[in-house]
Every structure is written in structure tokens, then in C-alpha cells.
């Protein structure tokens, strides 16, 4: 789960890390009120879960509440890389002497947290990584050793942080690591980490991603989820416990397991179809979940046919078959459904379907045949 900048900063503040003071606003009035409270020059920042806000016009400086209101009006509703801006963060303008970069990433490949620190912070750290790799200190932490004071020291020296800021930067490294561990974060990124003319070191941005699997032990973070921002169908899918991503095509696709669903998309594409969505019902799907999943797919009016591709492992074919019959009973289904069942209890499942024929239900034996059939049924041009 990605957090908005202002939510990340809230976690930073709770962890005792210095950030820039600000207020959330979801309307022009709130933005103006925030500016008045903060009393002084501020920055108005779009809160969207994507990068490139600055270039898209989502970050503006303002000297007066009137100016804030003007910018707020322009930014609210702004589409940034497909994300519509629904809230703002109005924060005090910090004086900036230097901009650094700092992050901790859960590095899946190395299976260790990776710490990166650079004195060349600000906009384009990826370019720094390519053009000036020596300016980006990267050190993996050995989780068996745990975080030790020397580790922050190494990073600070490797990045060439000037003497007078070493202690403050080391404290931020330690604090961010504590947050990384205690909040089950997959990413904590501060860009820029600013040094003020007075020599204070402050997190001027905060990008935090939390492990979805660990949200159960962080109810206060789980509550931060912005249900309004998600696509309504994706939101509906989430509530029903399935993974759904909307695409642009005509063939609704449902399968069990992300790999199989991706492969199904590829095969449909190869035989000339266009997938309408990615939908993974996950492992051990029960009849009710099958009904929910079909509802999500059918809520997309573009869908001309549905490809139902199940290879049972923990999922059992008989339960899937019962779910399909249930759905055919309970939902108004006006498009053809091509079902391919294999694996655990697949024979039982196929027998259940065979015993209850339905004009929209087509059963195929192989994935490739099923893909061809669904493309054909969707009308060829799908």
C-alpha cells in the first residue's frame, strides 16, 4: 500500500523525524484556511500516488492565502499520469541550502534492505545513479546483524556528507530504519532530504510503501487507505478479495493465480483477442468468490465474452463449477462464458457443469482451445 506524502510525513513525525509542517486540504477553502494557519509562504502540493508531480504542475509556491486558493483551484482535479488530484498538502516553505537523497528499499533480489544516500538529491536521482554512480552510496544491511551505529556511519562517510551534518543525517537514517521495520515498510524514500541555511536536516518529502500482508498489525495505517482514489471496479474487487486490473479490451479474463492469468492474457492476445481485464481469484476460491469475481468483470460494459481459466491446486474444480452455476443463477449474464477447468477435482467440476447445460456456457479442454473459442465468441474483432 502506497502512502500519500502527507501520510508518510505523519509516520515520520510519529517516529520523531523532522518534517516540514503542513496541513491537508481537499477544497480551495481548506487550502486557504491551511495557509492562514501556517501564516507565511507555503507550497501547495498535489497528493497523488505517482511521480512527476512537479512537471505536471502539481506543485506550486504561494506567498499569500489568495495565491494558495488560486493554485488549489488549479491543482484540485488535475490529472497527473492518470491520477486525479483529490487532495492537497499545504506546507510551509522551507529554506533550502542543500538537497540530499535518502532511501531504504526492501531489495527482493538481495533479500536485504538497501540503503541509498546521496548529496545530489532533488529531482532526478535515477539519472544520478546512471551518470554519477560514485555520488550515490548504496549499502545493504545484513538483517542477521541488525542495524548498528557503525552502519549509519559508513553510509554517511561513503556519501561524503559534510562533517557538521553527519550526526543529524545518521539520526535520520536510524529513525527511517526504525520506521521501515516497525511499520513493515517496503520503501521509505526521502527526496529531497534538505539542509536548511541554519544547518538543520529535514525530510521535505516522504514516500512510504507498506507491505499489504502486514497491514493487519497496523490498523492505523490500514485506515489511511484512500478508497475514493481507486478505480470503482478495482475498489469493488478489493472489497471482494480478488485482484483486478482494468484493461481496454473486450474479453473478460478470470483465472486462479497471477502467473496463469498473465499467461491467459498473453494467449488471448496471441490468438487475436483483446483482454478487458486481469482478474485473479487467488488460491482456494469458493463459490461465493466466483460470483463476486464475475460481478466485477460484468460491471465493465465493454466485456463481450468471458474466459474462465482454472487450473486447480488448492482451488478445487468442483467448487469452481458450483460457483459458476451459482453465478449463472444469480446474475443476469448476457455474454458467453468459456470455461476451462483442470487440476484438483477438475473431473468432478466438469461433470457438474455438464449436468447443468446453459446457453452461455462453453467448456473447453485446453487453454489454447479455450482462448480461440472465446475470441471467436466475442465476435472475432474483439
Amino acid at each position: 500500500m502506497d502512502l500519500y506524502e502527507h501520510q508518510g510525513k505523519e509516520l515520520f513525525a510519529r517516529a520523531g523525524l523532522r518534517t516540514v509542517e503542513g496541513r491537508v486540504a481537499t477544497s480551495v477553502e481548506e487550502a486557504r484556511a491551511a495557509a492562514e494557519e501556517l501564516a507565511g509562504p507555503v507550497v501547495v502540493k498535489a497528493q497523488v500516488l505517482t511521480g512527476g508531480r512537479g512537471k505536471a504542475g502539481g506543485v506550486k509556491l504561494a506567498a499569500t492565502p489568495d495565491e494558495v486558493a488560486e493554485h488549489a483551484a488549479a491543482i484540485l482535479g488535475l490529472d497527473i499520469n492518470g491520477h486525479v488530484t483529490r487532495r492537497l498538502w499545504v506546507e510551509r516553505q522551507a529554506s533550502i541550502a542543500k538537497e540530499y537523497y535518502f532511501s531504504i528499499t526492501f531489495d527482493r533480489g538481495a533479500k536485504r534492505p538497501l540503503f541509498m544516500l546521496s548529496t545530489m538529491g532533488g529531482m532526478d536521482i535515477e539519472a544520478v545513479a546512471v551518470d554519477h554512480p560514485e555520488k550515490l552510496a548504496r549499502i545493504h544491511l545484513d538483517p542477521a546483524m541488525g542495524f548498528r551505529p557503525f552502519f549509519a556511519n559508513r553510509l554517511v562517510f561513503a556519501a561524503g556528507i559534510p562533517k557538521e551534518e553527519r550526526r543529524a543525517v545518521a539520526a535520520i537514517i536510524e529513525g527511517c530504519h526504525r520506521l521501515f521495520v516497525e511499520a513493515d515498510a517496503m520503501l521509505v524514500e526521502v527526496n529531497p532530504l534538505i539542509v536548511t541555511p541554519e544547518g538543520e536536516v529535514v525530510a521535505a518529502d516522504a514516500k512510504v510503501t507498506i507491505d499489504d500482508n502486514a497491514l493487519y498489525r497496523h490498523p492505523e495505517i490500514a485506515a489511511m487507505r484512500d478508497t475514493a482514489a481507486a478505480d470503482p471496479q478495482e475498489q469493488m474487487a478489493r472489497e471482494r478479495g480478488v485482484t483486478y486490473v482494468k484493461l481496454d479490451g473486450a474479453i473478460g479474463i478470470l483465472g486462479n493465480g497471477a502467473g496463469l492469468v498473465m499467461s491467459t492474457l498473453d494467449v488471448v492476445d496471441q490468438v487475436g483477442g483483446t483482454p478487458a481485464n486481469f482478474l485473479d481469484v487467488g488460491g482456494g476460491a469458493q463459490a461465493d468468490e466466483i460470483v463476486s469475481a464475475l460481478e466485477v468483470i460484468l460491471s465493465d460494459p465493454k466485456v463481450q465474452a468471458i474466459f474462465f481459466n482454472i487450473f486447480g491446486g488448492i482451488t478445487r474444480g468442483d467448487e469452481v463449477a458450483r460457483g459458476i452455476l451459482d453465478a449463472l443463477d444469480r446474475l443476469e449474464i448476457g455474454v458467453p462464458i468459456v470455461v476451462r477447468l483442470d487440476g484438483t477435482n477438475a473431473e468432478e467440476g466438469r461433470a457438474i457443469l455438464a449436468a447443468a447445460p446453459h446457453r452461455h456456457l462453453h467448456v473447453e479442454a485446453t487453454m489454447l482451445d479455450a482462448a480461440r473459442r472465446v475470441v471467436e465468441l466475442a465476435g472475432g474483432a474483439a
Binding site: G51, S103, I104, T105, F106, R108, G109, K111, R112, P113, L114, M116, I125, E126, A129, L136, D142, P143, A144, D184, M186, L187, E189, N191, K207, T209, D211, N213, Y216, R217, G255, N256, G257, A258, G259, L260, M262, S263, L265, D266, V267, V268, D269, Q270, F278, G282, G283, G284, I310, F311, G312, G313, I314, T315, D342, G343, T344, A346, M367, L368
Partner: protein, 290 residues
Amino acid sequence: MAVLVTAETRLVTQGITGREGAFHTLKNRAYGTQVVAGVTPGKGGQDVEGIPVFDTVADAVAETGANTSMVFVPPRFAADAIYEAADAGIGTIVCITEGIPAHDMLGAYTYLRPRGIRLLGPNCPGALSPGIANVGIIPAQVFAPGGIGLVSRSGTLTYQIGSEVAGLGLGNSTIVGIGGDPVVGTSFIDALELFEADPETTHIVLVGEIGGNEEEKAADYIAAHVTKPVVAYIAGFTAPPGKTMGHAGAIISGSSGTAVAKKEALEARGVRVGTNPTEVARIVAELVTA
């Protein structure tokens, strides 16, 4: 010989009295796996259709000589179950549980790895050595014994490819589902190493998907260390772009993590890549008969 799961496997299921734990344990036993014990704290002394249940893994190991555990406990307790298995001297831990927090697994992995304890998963379908033993949830009926080692990040896609290969009359030494979580105990490279060393395995099929750079690393490993022919499949050519982990994520992965990039990396190192499961099976059959 097969890998990971062999005739020597003596299985204990942690969480045997749960619905899924009991169902799949019994299926594994029915397949021929030596299932020697189950563990559910507080239910020691009971049995599940004749399989003795113990309060602790240590007791199960002491009483039954279990050497492999299958973890079927809920995600909140799964890391603890893995530690318990390791502490009790279990050498191979197969964790089926899905949804374990990544930091929990980071700690467990870091503990297990230098101690030489093999972990498969979590969030994986397990390993099946056709005709010998099955540990996990892989539907065994679609696979036959043979010389093809199959390793995959994906559960059901593994079955798909396996069944296509079987459809052409070929069999498998072992099917290994490594799981797709951020931290998995056994990587592609680990599985390749096992297959390379296994005399029964003649060919290797590697099933990857978009994201990360494990397939690229596997390609390098194959070029340097694998003498047996490898065929690969990558899922996700038409998948929507996944989310990236901030700038840091992009810097780490280096590559784009796309299916095309992975395919090219593998082909550049002499690995043939099929474009769909059916084609993968055809290439394998071609190599076997060549």
C-alpha cells in the same frame, strides 16, 4: 533421485488439523508420500486418519524422525512455525501459507540460509517428484515420472506447463514451485543448481513472469553453471505495467523487469523461450527427441 522431495522424505505437517492442512496432507499421503506426523499445539496425542499429532515439531521429530515439514498455518503464525521447524532440526521446510509479512520472512530467511536449512516458499505450491512423493498442493494426477525438471515462480501456471509437457508424453523429475513473494527461500538459481546436480534430470524448464530481475540472474547462472538444456517461459507480455517501488526500485532493478527484457536476457544466453505454454512443451519435446 529427484530433488527436494524424494523417497527419503518423512513429512510432518504443521497445522495438520486445519481444513486445508488436513485435506492436502491426506492427498499427499494418498499419493505415496511418507507422512509421519502432524503438529497442532494442544492437540498432541490425537491423530488425523491415523497420522499422529504432536504438540511441538520437536516432539514430532523425536518420535517419528520427520525430516521435512509442510507449513499450513495462518500467515500471522507461519514465520513462527518455520522457526520452530528449523529449531527442531527439520532440513527441508515447504511453506504453502500465503500472505506472510515480508519482514517476517526476511528474518526467517536470514536465519535459515547460513544454517543450510532449505526453505521452499512461502506462498508456493510445494514440490512434486512424480511417482515418488508430493509435498504441497500441486495436483499430482497431471504429472508422470521422467527427466524434466520444472521450476516456476507461479503456482497454477506451473500446472499448466506441466500438463502440456505431460500431454506430449513426457515426464518430470521434480516440479518445484518457488513462490512469488518478495522473500522466497529457494530461488531460481537454487533450483537450477539442484537440477543440474540431479542425475535423473535431463532437461530443465524455467517458468518466470514479469517483475524483479530473478529471471535475468537465472540467465547468467545458466550460462555459467548449467550444462543441461533449459527451456523458459515468461508470462506477462500483455500485462498492465506494475507499480514501481519509487525511484529506489528503479535504481535497484536496473532492467525494466518486462517480459520482453527477460526473454531477451534468456535468449542471449542460449535459452530457448516459448511464447505460450503449448509452445514451451513443444520445444521441450523437440529437445528430448533430438
